[in-house]
Amino acid sequence: MTESYENAEERVIRTLKGRKALFRMVSDIAKNRRGLSILVISVITTAVAGTFIPLTIGEAVNSVNNRSITGVILFASIFLGLAMVQFASNRFRAISSTEVSQKTVKDMRDNAFKSIHKVPVSFFSIVKSGFLISRITNDGETIGDFLTFQIPQVVSGFTTVIMSIAIMLYLDFNLTLYALIVLPFLSLFTISLQGKVRANYLKTRKTIAAITGNLAENIGSVRSIKAFNVERYVEERFDGLNEENLRANIKASRLSSFYGAVVRVIEFLGIVIVIYAGALQLQSSLISIGILVAFIFYVQEFFDPVIQLSQLYNAYQSSIVGAGRIYGIIDSEKEEVPEGSRDKEDFTTDLSLKDVDFTYGMGDTLKEINMEIKRGDKIGIVGHTGAGKTTLSNLILKLYLPKDGEIDLDLVNTKLIMTKSYRDIIVPVLQEPFLFRGSIYENVRIAKKSATDEEIREKAKEFGLSRIFSRLPDGMETDVGELGRNLSEGQKQAIAILRALIREPDIIIMDEPTSNIDPFSERDIFMSLGKFAKNRTLILITHRFSMISLVDKIAVVDAGRIVENGTFEQLMEKKGLFYNMYNILYGKTDSDPL
């Protein structure tokens, strides 16, 4: 019945795997044609210039042997010229590699960010924010480094090997074969270790991810850890993970160090073979000393690219995984905008729910909901926790769409109203108010960009909210802190209310707007809400009966259905669910247990 988190996430984020992610990334990189051409040209230029250096040195040696001073000067100048070419082309390489890779990463991040604003809201109930954030930030970094440093190195490595072999072949065919003898051994050795290298690498990734997850949790839970006096427990949990990570890393580095040592031996072997074979050829006067010198330099030179290629795997693997994940976010299914959708200017007659059914996936959350809300109506929706009240407000706000039935605004199915225009008409005060970093002013201003501090202050006063903020050190200038941590729940909610008020919507929908505000401030808010709602439509969701006098009609929700309907008096007379709930809260002990 319950699906694992990984499966659920995979359902909404379709992570691209392996080669698909690589191809997608390559095609993204290729979009920056100019940068990419400069990069490729500069990398190849550097590598080609590099491969001519041993040849030049060899020729310089020959010139010395031939007692030709002009030859020495000529080849020394060529040597210097090649170094200058490398200096210049490397400069272009450094700049263009950063440009190409960081631009690619930036676009990936921007697109992922755009995408999360177009996915259905249900996306966020499945994907945890921590994973989403680390994909966009961490994985992006990994890709950036990989593209900036590793990819140019691969291109340059290949170019060096190919060019070196070509020049060697041109110089002397036989000696080239001798020089290349070690290459198959090197390759075989490298490939034979890959399986183990991969397993080791995955283990180190897994253990470090566990450490990060554990730390995030501990830091976030510090209050509970302190309150329950379990510092030791937390430390022990962490120590275990820390040790596993240490072991995994030591194992991985033992193997990679062993590899490095063996490669060193193979490299020396290659040099020895060239010297021996070269000496024999020199003996039979088939080659000059200079050519032998050049060969010795070449053999030393193509070991670096091969070693680099073998070390590429880890970086390649983690950036491909990272890229696949970011593409998964970019590709996740968007909320569809049905054909024929149009803007809606205002609200004239009524908002009606017709046979609305809804489920989050398991069981029915709402069933056969029918409601008719006329312009100017003040409706209360009450019921126990979990009855479906908040779900109902989510549907009215178009955060979710009904599974069956429809919600109409002035007889137009809200599905067909452009969401943006719909949200100018209807504005919520959500149950868990969310604050952005910045001052209280800035937080209110999100609802109306043009609002001045003065206007916000006035509004707060008008609605009796100033008192709540007056306690703060800097009044409404106070920085609310990360996620509003500098404020109390009540203060946060007051901001959420102020936001809704300043937007002056036609319909205002409030979901437990005062659940954390003390009864003292509540009265102020309450009075002004009454004033504000006068010419507007109000939908109030609450289990606090103190707010009931604001509304004309009440719908009682229980287990996803509307079970009672009517005015306060009618419902009290009915002695049903509403009557019972009211009595429990206000202490009439004769209430029947439900």
Partner: protein, 574 residues
């Protein structure tokens, strides 16, 4: 540049190394071994060109018989080089991992010792990046210092020694480059420092924007803020990109200048060596050896630039790590003492000042043993701060807190918190099973006790309805609980140890009043003699309590007659 300045810059680059030695206690011998192995490794590697030079000379002299012993020598050098390379690579990774292990352990240890206040001043994302990214940056530097910087220094030393054996003037050419390289390195470092700092800042900004945007999606959507959020995010990624480009431009110039300087010197050697060889009609082997040595030196030296970048990152990281390691925000640990036999609580002349505001001016409160007391008051009046004083999660600016007549500061912190259970407003569940979350790491709690606590907190029915019951995974990768379920989990967690004082800081706001009252009466029924302190705004909860304190103008007064509350909404609303 004065000498002092110059040296301080050089030691500045090495500062992270000195820092890391602290976390390699008992393993410092590895560093000495690594220095020796780096010396052996480079000495043997650089000796190969000299042997090759000798071979060239022999070949020139047609003395082919001299080749075999030379080749044997090269293979011997290969053996030495391979072993020392292994030691260098493995040793540097080993010690850097040990370092990271010890540092992380120490960091977690320091974090758990900190006052709650510390976490109010630092965002959790920031603390997380200090314990992960910054540790990694310093580890990376240590590893690269040991595996590359020390070998590079050795290469420079041995190159000089060998070159001076080959020809005094060859060595001189090389010697000229060293100060130039160091100078370039210092300028490079100075120029890019600012940009690296900005990159870190922008990265943090990016993370925070994401966090804010994702957590506030509903607000973003219902207020149609999508476009402005996207624009803000793109601003951040733009600045991030621009900083990287600035660094790329610097890297493009300075980092490539280093190998170019070497090439310049090598050109000098070819010209000078070629000329003198021709004049003196000497053999060419020495020249080949010298050029080969220059060639081998270029690669490691071009890495110097990257090492400087790593050092920069590591230094920034150390600064941030040190802020966590500092002990000025540690909780004071009281020495010996027992928890008092009685569980009445008294707050005497309490004053709390936060920032510039006096929240509580002179508060006195007496909570009798076995009492059930409610604290209420306007939003932001300091209710939470007051109850936090009891288990010393906060300290008053002035005044004392007594339990059973004993000042809480005289009770060891762990004893105090073992006996005073507080359920904070912000509820944290760890990833693990439901049972693990209720036990929460405290020893000797039976499964039966867990079930009993769940029953009291009225969460047992919900848990039983789950397929895996108490073994159900929750947290990051598990089941997500609703607000009310989380609150009830937290109550179960607090009550499972049968504390003698229980503080509920408005933790039933998402539980409906009926269930709430049930929970209260179950607690009182099941934990004999428990003192319960409740922070609540609910009329029904106040009515249930023996006594209700109201916080007003920084003081506490007993609310004598609840009905008299002249507050709209408390009595009959119609």
């Amino acid at each position: 540049m004065s000498h002092n300045n110059f040296f301080s810059k050089i030691t500045g680059v090495l500062q992270p190394l000195i820092f890391s030695l602290k976390y390699l206690k008992g393993k410092r011998w590895i560093i000495y071994i690594l220095i020796i192995s780096a010396a052996l490794s480079t000495a043997s590697r650089l000796y190969v060109p000299i042997v090759i030079g000798l071979i060239i000379d022999s070949l020139e002299a047609k003395a082919f018989s001299a080749i075999l012993p030379a080749i044997e020598l090269i293979m011997l050098l290969a053996g030495v080089s391979a072993v020392s390379t292994f030691i260098t690579n493995f040793g540097s990774q080993y010690s850097s991992q040990i370092y990271a292990y010890n540092l992380r352990k120490k960091l977690v240890n320091s974090l758990t010792k900190k006052k709650v206040k510390f976490f109010q001043g630092n965002s959790s994302g920031d603390l997380l990046s200090r314990t992960t990214m910054d540790v990694d940056a310093t580890r990376n530097f240590l590893m690269n210092t040991l595996s590359q910087l020390i070998p590079t220094i050795m290469i420079i030393i041995f190159a000089l020694i060998y070159l001076s054996f080959l020809n005094f003037f060859y060595a001189l050419f090389f010697l000229f480059t060293v100060p130039v390289l160091v100078y370039i390195g210092i300028i490079f470092q100075r120029k890019q420092r600012k940009h690296w700092m900005n990159i870190r800042k922008q990265y943090g900004e990016m993370t925070e924007r994401l966090q804010e945007d994702i957590n506030g999606q509903r607000t973003v959507r219902t207020y149609s803020l999508e476009d402005s959020q996207i624009a803000k995010f793109q601003d951040t990624t733009d600045s991030y990109f621009n900083e990287y480009m600035e660094i790329a431009h610097l890297r493009g110039f300075y980092n490539n200048l280093m190998p170019f300087i070497i090439s310049l010197a090598a050109t000098g050697v070819i010209l000078y060596g070629g000329y003198t060889s021709i004049i003196a009609r000497s053999q060419v082997g020495n020249l080949v050896a010298a050029v080969n040595i220059f060639n081998l030196v270029t690669m490691p030296i071009s890495f110097l630039g990257r090492l400087i970048v790593w050092s920069e990152n590591a230094r920034a990281g150390i600064g941030r790590i040190n802020e966590v390691l500092k002990d000025d925000m540690d909780e004071e640990l009281t020495t010996s003492g027992n928890f008092p036999g009685e569980n009445d609580v008294e707050l005497r002349n309490i004053k709390i000042i936060k920032g510039k505001k006096e929240i509580i001016s002179n508060l006195n409160m007496k909570i009798p043993r076995g009492g059930f007391v409610c604290i209420t008051g306007e939003t932001g009046c300091g209710k939470s701060s007051i109850v936090n004083l009891i288990p010393r999660l906060e300290e008053p600016t002035a005044g004392e807190v007594f339990i059973g007549g004993i000042d809480v500061r005289e009770i060891p912190l762990d004893t105090l918190r073992k006996n005073v259970s507080i359920v904070p407003q912000e509820i944290n569940l760890l990833s693990g099973t439901i049972e693990e979350n209720i036990i929460f790491g405290r020893s000797a709690i039976s499964h039966e006790a867990v079930i009993k606590a769940a029953k009291i907190a009225r969460i047992d029915d919900f848990i039983d309805s789950l397929e895996d019951g108490y073994e159900t995974l929750i947290g990051e990768r598990g089941l997500t609980l609703s607000g009310g379920q989380r609150q009830r989990m937290a109550i179960a967690r607090a009550i499972v140890t049968t504390p003698s004082i229980l503080i509920l800081d408005d933790v039933t706001s998402s539980v409906d009043p009926e269930t709430e009252l049930n929970i209260f009466s179950e607690i009182v029924k099941n934990v004999k003699g428990i003192t319960v302190i409740l922070v609540s705004l609910r009329y029904s909860a106040m009515k249930y309590s023996n006594e209700t304190y109201i916080i007003k103008d920084g003081q506490a007064e007993i609310l004598e007659d609840l009905e008299s509350l002249d507050i709209f909404g408390y009595g009959d609303s119609r």
